[in-house]
Homo-oligomer: 549 residues x 2
């Protein structure tokens, strides 16, 4: 008992215990606060998201309406202009087709953004408000369960407090019984020592009966105190055991709460929050992805139309639209004068020699002209190739302007400078127009040359045919006949249908045949086809059928 000073006093133990329980209680309150704050944050987030999507929906609708108005403005213009006959067939031309598809795409984008508005307003926002309801309801229910958990914890700690106090009480009693027992034992010992003195001082005989009863008394007291001590010690042992068992139970319960139950409590608050929010975001994403897919499909249609931008086919279409204007006229026929029965070049003497001379002159003149014109044509081809290279330069990729990750801001200037800097444009255009000018100069030169060649060739061919016949005629008789042996039949005039049917319309083969008959046999592809890879179909076809001289 000398070390009593080292032991905690009862009051200290109780105070420590109460402090420990108070700390736990404080934590429990803070835990609720934390969960409440979390729920409030979620509600705030959900409210922000609702506000965001409400406003985004409005923006989408504004955008949709602007696009619709824009498309309608031009569509109505097109509708009114269609009343003019000339404009009616314009949509057959490939650039106009692209333009109409751009308008179609604008309407499609308008519709898609309206759909976005609809999905945001009637789906995403509805989901978000439902999640808000869920958060409130689940927090309420979870708090209910949390309170139950907390009550349980407090009940357990209260029980621990009670059994601890009981242990203290019984232990105190046990100590007191022990000290009383020890006191009795001391007295007994004292008495025992006195007995020793008695055997020494046997003289005082009259004291003996007094002493015997005193020893008995002391022994009785000691026995009583021993019994009391044992009883108290057992009570104390049981109380300690109870305290220790409750301690284990309390620690297990507290541990379970902190390790499992708090986590479960948070799970209760969370129940479905992430899943529902994910579905909401996925609805938003689905809408945006679908908008994108739709946009992409529309753009692909336009791109296809741009791939099909075709000057050749457009030329064909224009000539078809104005077929009366572009259809070759009837040939000039030989008109015999006053029943002149000769309708051919006559190559009998005396004109034969002269014609023959003329024929040879034509032949050599043509050879020279063709060589000269071929040179011009080569220059023309090269110039056209240069022009084509300029005109088809792939300068339309603007992806640099959309590189966010790399250089987030100042996108504008980049887009403008790289692709359309004024100096580059001016340079390019000056160069292009110079080449163009040269092309036209050379084209005129070529045109003049080929015009002359065409006429001389026609004369040359006719003379060749005539002289060939004349030579054969000479074999029969030396005398030049005044009249040809028999007047040749007039060439049949080309069928009038050429005038009236639309170019290629329905029966292209017939048309080719008619044209071919009026000129000669279809010949090999002229070299001119190679002049320009973009030479339109119609002219290619004609050149194929009627090669140039």
């Amino acid at each position: 008992m000398s070390s009593q000073g080292k032991f905690k006093k009862d009051k200290e133990i109780i105070a420590d215990y109460e402090a420990q329980v108070k700390e736990i209680r404080t934590q429990l309150v803070e835990q609720f606060k934390c969960l409440e704050q979390q729920s409030e944050s979620r509600l705030q987030l959900l409210q922000d998201l609702q506000e965001f999507f409400r406003r985004k929906a409005e923006i989408e609708l504004e955008y949709s309406r602007s696009l619709e108005k824009l498309a309608e403005r031009f569509s109505s213009k097109i509708r009114s202009s269609r009343e003019h006959q000339f404009k009616k067939d314009q949509h057959l031309l490939s650039p106009v087709n692209c333009w109409y598809l751009v308008l179609t795409q604008t309407r499609r984008e308008s519709r898609d953004h309206a759909t976005l508005n609809d999905i945001f307003m009637n789906n995403v926002i509805v989901r978000l408000s439902q999640i808000s309801e869920d958060v409130i309801r689940l927090f309420k229910k979870s708090k209910e369960i949390g309170l139950q958990m907390h009550e349980e914890l407090l009940k357990v700690t209260n029980e621990l407090y009670t059994v601890m106090k009981t242990y203290h009480m019984y232990h105190a009693e046990s100590i007191s019984a022990e000290s009383k027992l020890k006191e009795a034992e001391k007295q007994e010992e004292k008495q025992f020592n006195k007995s020793g003195d008695i055997s020494v001082n046997l003289l005082r005989h009259e004291d003996r009966p007094q002493r015997r009863s005193s020893v008995k008394k002391i022994e009785k007291m000691k026995e009583k105190r021993q019994a009391k001590y044992s009883e108290n010690k057992l009570k104390c042992t049981k109380a300690r055991n109870d305290y220790l068992l409750n301690l284990a139970a309390t620690n297990a319960a507290v541990s379970k709460y902190y390790i499992h139950d708090v986590s479960d409590l948070i799970d209760c608050c969370d129940l479905g929050f992430h899943a529902s929010l994910a579905r909401t975001f996925r609805t938003y994403l689905s809408a945006e992805y679908n908008l994108e897919t739709s946009r992409h499909e529309g753009l692909d249609i336009i791109e296809n139309a741009v791939d099909n931008l075709d000057a050749r086919s457009d030329k064909h279409t224009i000539m078809d639209m104005c077929n009366q204007v572009f259809c070759p006229p009837l040939k000039f026929e030989f008109q015999p004068h006053m029943g002149d029965e000769v309708c051919q070049v006559s190559a009998q003497q005396p004109v034969q020699t002269e014609l023959l001379m003329r024929y040879h002159q034509l032949q050599s003149r043509l050879a020279t002209l063709k060589i000269e014109n071929e040179e011009v044509r080569k220059t023309l081809d090269a110039t056209m190739q240069t022009l084509q290279d300029m005109l088809t330069v792939e300068d339309f990729d603007v992806s640099d302007a959309f590189q966010h990750s790399r250089s987030t801001e100042s996108v504008k200037s980049a887009a403008s400078e790289t692709y359309m800097s004024k100096i580059n444009i001016a340079k390019r255009r000056a160069n292009q127009q110079e080449t163009e000018m040269f092309y036209f100069t050379k084209f005129k030169e070529y045109l003049n040359g080929s015009n002359l060649i065409t006429k001389l060739q026609a004369k040359h061919d006719l003379l060749k045919q005539t002289l060939g016949e004349g030579e054969r005629a000479e074999c029969g008789t030396t005398r030049p006949p005044c009249l040809p042996p028999k007047p040749q039949k007039m060439r049949r005039p080309r069928p009038l249908s050429v005038y009236n049917h639309k170019l290629f319309n329905g029966n292209m083969e017939t048309f080719i045949k008619v044209l071919a008959d009026s000129k000669g046999n279809p010949a090999q592809h002229s070299q001119r086809i190679n002049r320009s890879p973009r030479l339109p179909f119609f002219s290619t076809f004609l050149v194929a059928v009627f090669p140039r001289g």
Copy 2:
């Protein structure tokens, strides 16, 4: 000459010819008109496109600004709320991360649409105006060339007219010379017949010299007329030959013009138009496709964040953010009273029998409770599974709302009805809340059961340990020792660092070890882990380390 009535008169031939030439001239004029109209149509188209892109650029800018304003509104709110300590770490939570990414995407879209505006204004429109210049310039130049072609044609037809007139003249002279010759021949014949009469009437001899000079005269005239006729006939033949050769040349020139030159003329007008327009459209398409790619990248980032919406990790984050609040408290330690040296359950007689009985009672009670609680757990698991199925139903696909091609209009109603019809929502939600209610009821039941089991198990385990030691102690001595052989060491208190370090922060292994030491060895994964596949990580981890009773 009897059939002279059948022949065309000169005037008729001339009139026919002039009509034919006039028709060609009309066609040439019409061809110019057609090309001019075509150029005008192109200019109109280019003007429309410019207007369209100017307005579209405006719309894109408005849209961009609206989006920017929208994003900024919430971003500034976030910035200001970050000043609060609690809100500061909110961005670590997965739903908040999604929300921030939605805002980032909004800013990205804003930037992209601003870029679209820039490209339309500073690239597409500039290109279009350049093409307009080109169309005007090329039409001018082409018309110049066309006029040259037309002049050439008129020159050729004029030449033909001249040679035809010459042929007519010489043929007329030839006819006249022929008729004069025939007249002379007639006279000669008449004279010859007269000579026959002379030989019959030789009597009139005095007439002879007169007749002879007359015959001579006639013969001379006939010869003269014969010469004249031959001369004229040759002239006529030459003129006819010239006419025929020029006819061939003219027809060849006309044919060349209609078949090649007109086509070339249109090519001149077209020069580069389709290519330049295609590049312009491709610039527009490149911008739109790049916008789309950028959008898509942004959406993918959001989708990734949505995939990573994770209640478990968020719970971990929240507990980490409030680590003071969620950290398990110190264990309640045994407080020995007044230097009580016994700090363990004592199981010596006379309490041994009683403790043993209590141990067996606990054992059988626990067995029953565990079976009962396991049943509750199974119901709980099944209910959670049902809830999970409801909460993760894939109801977010809105692609039907974007099916233009199939059902162009009335998209709105479709989107609203299919996904978010009010009846379906109400039904689904009622069902969900009912299941939720049932889940909470069962959860409370389970919680009560497990709380009781935890406490009883702790007592049971302590008794088992004590009695086990007691039994072993009994082997040594039958006499229950008043004091245990040697006071057991107090368990060392858990290090204070558990309070102060952040949960898992930095040194998770140490933390696990500390927790494990305070409870016992880490045990097998409890079955409860399987209860919910979405059980958060933190609780899973704890459950793994500290299995429930």
